[in-house]
Symmetry: C2
Subunit: 334 residues, 2 copies
């Protein structure tokens, strides 16, 4: 273990192990990157900085869809097929609710049983950590660690709750929306704005009795997508149907990803987009770390009780109390 033995590995040594494909060290490095302890954060940052030249070579794919759409089944089929094409794949799950249930590691491995046993696949859920919202940053660091470990395709799964799609969209190259052919109204039930973020839509469970409805939904969505303005990438989103049980639409989905990657590499969009994502990551980190700093600040905590009692007595406006507290704490320092 990186943390629990007396032996202190240097970041360079750990980096070497990760590049060599040592899964145990990779898993421990991810745990380190997810830690909140300042010394762990420093070590993780040193490690990933060392690894930066080895990152950026994977295709980063975000996958979203409402519960019931068959996300795990699709990822299992897609991932298994990719490994059959000599690709090494990593599956990361962004689950804002997992901090409550704590059960997601087991959950993820159970629901993608076949993939979990595949030597060329690596499945890892990302816990949200604390409420100050470090989830995005930690998953980004995990992506870099997996890239350094030689994974060719990184699948980042989001559960489709709240802001998680936007979060994931901001850390991947390609964003895939899974949809179910509904009974009747095909365009219902999709959160506003998600459709606009998608580079491709896959209609799942296109088999048996569902096949016809899926084909119809496919045509409808393709038409609907034409109504949107072209994305900044200049890429026109495509719609496909897929059946995980009949293994259809899987190779086609990968072909679409490859077409997209060729397009954005040729136009230079990919490089610019990733740079913009890193800039965004920087600003998000400033906010997150700032809030953590203040939560841990002794100067702040020493003053809280006094302000709280004035607020309870209704002699001080809460927003004014915040202003006075911050003015005292930062007296001239920012």
């Amino acid at each position: 273990m990186l943390r629990n033995t007396g032996v202190q590995l240097l970041p360079a040594d750990i980096a070497e192990q990760i590049i060599a494909g040592n899964r145990v060290v990779l898993a421990q490095a991810i745990t380190l990157a997810e830690s909140q302890r300042p010394q762990d954060v420093t070590l993780a940052h040193q490690l990933i900085t060392t690894l930066l030249p080895n990152t950026g070579k994977s295709v980063r794919i975000g996958i979203t869809g409402v519960p019931g759409v068959g996300k795990s089944t699709f990822i299992e089929a897609f991932g298994t097929w990719l490994t059959s094409q000599q690709k090494k794949i990593a599956v990361l799950a962004v689950d804002p609710s997992s901090s409550k249930t704590k059960g997601s590691i087991l959950g993820d491995k159970t629901r993608m049983e076949k993939l979990a046993r595949n030597p060329n696949a690596f499945i890892r859920p990302t816990p949200t950590g604390n409420t100050l919202g470090g989830v995005a940053n930690r998953t980004r660091e995990t992506i870099l660690l997996c890239e350094a470990a030689g994974f060719d395709v990184i699948l980042v799964e989001t559960v489709g709750v709240g802001q998680s799609e936007t979060t994931v969209r901001n850390m991947v190259d390609f964003f895939l929306l899974l949809l179910l052919a509904g009974a009747g109204d095909e365009l219902q039930g999709i959160k506003k704005g998600i459709m606009e973020m998608a580079d491709a839509v896959v209609i799942t469970k296109a088999d048996g009795e569902n096949k016809k409805a899926a084909a119809l939904a496919c045509a409808n969505y393709q038409q609907a997508l034409h109504l949107f303005n072209a994305a900044d990438s200049g890429w026109q989103p495509k719609v496909l149907t897929s059946s995980a049980t009949e293994n259809t639409g899987i190779a086609e989905t990968w072909q679409l990803v490859q077409d997209y990657m060729e397009h954005v590499q040729t136009t230079g969009y990919l490089e610019k987009y990733r740079q913009a994502q890193n800039r965004n990551w920087f600003y998000e980190s400033i906010q997150t770390q700032l809030l953590q700093k203040i939560a841990l600040s002794e100067k702040v905590n020493a003053n809280l009780a006094r302000f709280e009692s004035e607020i309870m007595n209704n002699t001080l406006l809460p927003s004014e109390a915040a202003r006075q507290l911050l003015t005292e704490v930062f007296r001239g320092s920012i």
Copy 2:
């Protein structure tokens, strides 16, 4: 105008005007409270602190419901009826999307035409301000200003998008959920958790052909609400039907609010709940103001370009850049 003339009114003078019921000064004070300029914030805080002894005497009611449920129509009917009972009412709208459209003031006044002309009603939308999320604080300050101006009932309307219900729930005494009797599945289409926040549910448009379905929905929801644990207030949520056009369920809704207020005043819950809300407001303000401070900090801005260029060159991890920036800025100060 408080800001645009050479005449500097003192907070005490403005406060006097507001207490005397001067609507023009009230509107300007709200604008002041919504301002981002540090000198306006200071003045607004002084003003509201002066007014604190005159606040807290209204009934604060939050109203939510999806678009199409007839929220404006209900508020117009409910508000008009309240004024007929010699109540002075203020309607505040929390609209996270209004910063984009900018049209909500006109929109609000048009859609509540009758109420807007009523001398005992005051309608005011709250713009979201900036993305750093000051919306909740500003609406809270507006509530206090309206209370000082003598309004008996404050209706805070939310459009039912994203986090706005939770935001509004945290600033009102009583939370009212409007629902439509759906075709068939009555319990669909309500965002998870909203139901648990409601002190009452009103089934709208309970007239004509819809009457029967509304009565059925009413019974179903009443039953569903019994499945939840009792709220901290010890209040058992009630369900009503209402028709704004036939003016049914309006007086009954107010009776319910009064029953609730009597309950929470007797048990002492109201006082504790408002104190907890103020404490929450304080912590939210710390976060919001901290992020504003950092965005405006010269020390931060002077260092940004250097870090950004290292990030663009992929020689520095974005989260590590944030750590270094904050360490430099706050060297020993927090």
